[in-house]
């Protein structure tokens, strides 16, 4: 039986917490890029593309992230494509995050009034210019608070990456609990660490929300 002191627990959780942060950042940055691309092609309005994006969102929002990662990591080798845990995690988390972000942002873009599109079109702007100069700057203002809010969900969502072998915060907690049989101490520490990562993000979201509301008035 291993003898873990409280410091051993905290220290090992901190080490594992770095994976949580790294996975979250990867997911968020790449998911954001893909989500933005999806948003652009969808807003451009080819009906087939719209249908594809809708199906994409439905698929990745409607199934558990755990199953998505499992199928990417263990399913691809069955068709002869071996992927490392990193490739699988990056790929899976990107799909998942982009599906949510593109949907959040779509709502924000749609809240920009039709008149804005028409006015900018009458000025002879093409789609890219309309997006770049007229729609996105306005949509961005509404989009930032829910986007930062979603980042909290991404941080917590990375816990399922343990199914493909990542020892991140939750997994490290489970491992230590199974060695110490002290679930309260360990999960208490796990909860505190998630809180320390997520709460600043939540505060930031609230700060932005307040700021943009005042601007809007």
């Amino acid at each position: 039986m291993s003898e873990f002191s409280l410091w051993d627990i905290v220290y090992n959780l901190l080490l594992a917490g770095r994976w949580t942060v790294l996975l979250s950042l990867t997911a968020f940055v790449l998911g954001g890029i893909v989500g933005l691309l999806l948003l652009m092609v969808r807003t451009a309005g080819n009906p087939w593309v719209v249908r594809f994006v809708r199906g994409y969102v439905e698929l990745f929002q409607g199934t558990p992230l755990l199953m998505q990662l499992f199928i990417v990591f263990f399913g691809l080798p069955l068709i002869g494509l071996d992927v490392s845990p990193w490739v699988a995690a990056t790929f899976g988390l990107t799909l998942f995050t982009s599906a949510f972000l593109t949907e959040i942002w779509r709502g924000c873009v749609e809240s920009v009034g039709k008149g804005q599109w028409e006015a900018s079109a009458s000025l002879g702007m093409n789609f890219t210019q309309q997006m770049r100069y007229i729609v996105l700057p306005q949509a961005l203002r509404i989009a930032i608070p829910p986007t930062v809010g979603f980042s909290v969900q991404v941080v917590k969502g990375t816990a399922v990456a343990s199914i493909i072998g990542f020892v991140e915060l939750t997994k490290a907690g489970t491992m230590i609990t199974n060695a110490t049989y002290a679930p309260f101490t360990v999960y208490g520490c796990v909860a505190v660490m998630y809180f320390l990562i997520c709460y600043p993000l939540s505060l930031f979201a609230r700060h932005l929300e307040g700021k943009f509301r005042n601007v809007a008035r």
Binding site: E58, L59, Q61, G62, T63, P64, L65, L66, M67, Q68, F70, I71, F74, G75, P77, L78, G80, E103, G107, P146, G149, V152, Q153, K156, A159, T170, P183, F184, Y187, V190, A191, Y194, F195, C198, Y199, S202, E209, R213
Partner: protein, 223 residues
């Protein structure tokens, strides 16, 4: 690869999956109804002019939103017995889902309430509506209508999140999946099937919520 798929190996265990889907659905429906109810009360408290209550609700929301659902579940199931409150795994799972969704929906509904123009409330006051009437007809319904898509998404997220309830032996869909694969080692087949089942359930849930939203908000408009 030497691996040969055999989806037939799941068939003898189909009851586990059906029972799992039923339990997942039960958890989701109870969690959503009571959780959103809790969220409405929370949002009201946040919007109220009683700072102490508003702050207590604020702490609750932040604690829940910034910690993982699994940890919340463990504390309810393994922690509460130490305080003399013993819950079955179903009660613990339902309670955890209510508490979790309550926090998220408090935040979502509060955002909707903040978006109601002050002039609407003043107009209602000038019509001599009382506070409850104003909250119900002028604030809550329009606010809910505005945030219904976000709330629907959150309910779907909570349904998918209920998969961790299998860790405290609640026999929901993921429980069924993990149990079957432990018996016959057919992890791929089971996970493929269960992913499909979750997708079907979330599409149905989303459709159901859309219909409910139309019923709640569209009809009234023409009254």
């Amino acid at each position: 690869m030497a691996y040969k798929f055999d989806f037939g190996a799941i068939v003898p265990h189909w009851e586990l999956l059906v029972d799992g889907m039923i339990l997942t659905a039960e958890l989701t429906v109870i969690g959503a109804v009571v959780g959103v109810g809790l969220g409405i009360m929370g949002a009201w408290a946040r919007a109220s002019r009683a700072p102490v209550i508003s702050q207590i609700v604020g702490v609750y929301v932040e604690l829940i939103r910034n910690t993982p659902f699994l940890v919340q579940l463990f504390f309810i199931f393994f922690g509460l017995p130490a305080l003399g409150v013993k819950l079955t795994e179903f009660q613990a799972a339902v309670l955890a889902m209510i508490v979790n969704l309550g926090a998220y929906s408090t935040e979502i509904i509060r955002a909707g309430i903040l978006a109601i123009p002050q002039g609407q409330i003043e107009a209602a006051q000038s019509l001599a509506m009382n506070r409850v009437q104003i909250f119900r007809y002028v604030v809550l319904l329009p606010a809910l209508k505005k945030i219904w898509p976000a709330l629907s998404s959150q309910i779907v997220i909570v349904m998918l999140g209920s998969s961790v309830c299998s860790q405290i032996a609640a026999e929901e869909l993921t429980f069924g999946a993990n149990y079957i694969q432990a018996i016959n080692f057919r992890a791929f087949e089971v996970y493929f099937v269960v992913t499909g089942l979750y997708l079907v359930m979330s599409i149905l849930l989303r459709m159901g919520l859309k219909v409910l939203g139309n019923y709640l908000f569209e009809r009234r408009r023409h009254v």
